[in-house]
Symmetry: C2
Subunit: 218 residues, 2 copies
């Protein structure tokens, strides 16, 4: 039976540290599920690791303590339990703010019932910048759904939406000018409702099925 663990190592800022840490984990056939390198301007960097192992944690902690460059190692609570699933909203500030308002209110209601849903936003302008941000969103950890909030989006942004949808990300678009609404999973006119529906679509405690809503417009 494999079990999940999280470790936080305080390390010196030099090449090869992550290699040293992952060598210990590989030796114990640990399956690493999450890594974060946390640089600090005024003190040693930290490396946070989540992984699953079949055996005991103790020998791993003991061996990591002796890896070159590791100053300190501690067992910590898992990250994904604290922050949970993420929704990302991007586009123009006015609309992103309204979608966020709906999403945050709805996430609050589900989080009270035991979910952990975060609502992240990036106010951003320009076809190139938005297309890059859409493509990069699938590389962000724990993101389940993207809301595009603006007044006109198309061209390269629509191609980026196509790509990320093929990779399994759900995309909700506000009703707007341009071709993005045509390529999204769902189109919503009211930004607050778009935010609420986005959270309902990822919440286990809601009965909203975005697959059944495919290509609908509200």
């Amino acid at each position: 039976m494999s079990s999940a663990h999280a470790l936080l190592a305080t390390v010196s800022n030099q090449p090869g540290i992550l290699f040293g840490l992952t060598r210990v984990l590989a030796d114990h056939a640990a399956n690493i599920t999450y890594v974060d390198i946390i640089p600090h301007p005024d003190r040693d960097a930290e490396i946070y690791l989540e992984f699953a192992i079949d055996g005991d944690l103790e020998p791993i902690v003991e061996q990591i303590r002796h890896v070159t460059g590791v100053a300190r190692i501690e067992v910590t609570p898992s990250f994904s339990k604290i922050y949970g699933k993420r929704i990302v909203i991007m586009g123009g500030g006015a609309q992103v703010g309204q979608v966020a308002l709906g999403a945050i209110s709805e996430a609050d209601r589900h989080n009270i019932r035991g979910e952990r849903i975060s609502v992240d936003t990036i106010p951003l302008v320009g076809e190139e910048a938005l297309a890059s941000a859409v493509r990069a969103v699938i590389r962000l950890p724990r993101v389940r759904l993207l809301v595009l909030a603006g007044s006109i989006m198309g061209g390269e942004i629509s191609r980026a939406v196509d790509e990320v949808r093929q990779k399994g990300l759900y995309v909700i678009s506000l009703n707007m000018a341009g071709s993005v609404p045509d390529v999204a999973d769902l189109v919503v006119s009211d930004p607050v409702q778009a935010g609420v529906m986005a959270v309902m679509a990822v919440a286990e405690t809601a009965k909203f099925d975005i697959v059944r809503q495919q290509k609908r417009r509200y």
Copy 2:
């Protein structure tokens, strides 16, 4: 002269892959600054790496291509350039939404002038849950400032705020019941203004210095 690069590897889901990747990077004295493991329910996982090297990128890409378990490797644009600095807002849904509204509008104005500021939120209730989330926030990448938005916060949350401030994170608190306002860098009554000030405090394009505002209340 060392230069920054980003790579995205498509890998099989088995122990030891990250060890294989980091071995190649350690061999080339690459300083890894960012790692993300992106699991996918229906296809191969991806590992995203950012690092700085003195020499050429080509030999590294070539060697990673031959690491066991690596199906595909591509050079991609850097993540931190796309998403930039982050502000995190946590607390009760009603207040978090209003702070987000102010922060998103203000981030929009700075992002138009070339900044990249993201506004992330987690609506969350309960002393224990909030204290854990506050402590974990310093392990999130690219986070510069935390806003605590609620009606009453104290006890363990205040101790957590003390800890993260000692580690260099700025904390803005809404004016509220409990001891959190006493331990924050800055206290603001209007949630929209709190969001705007939070963004101004981290923006290079703003003249707001949170160090000069220490312990003020608005």
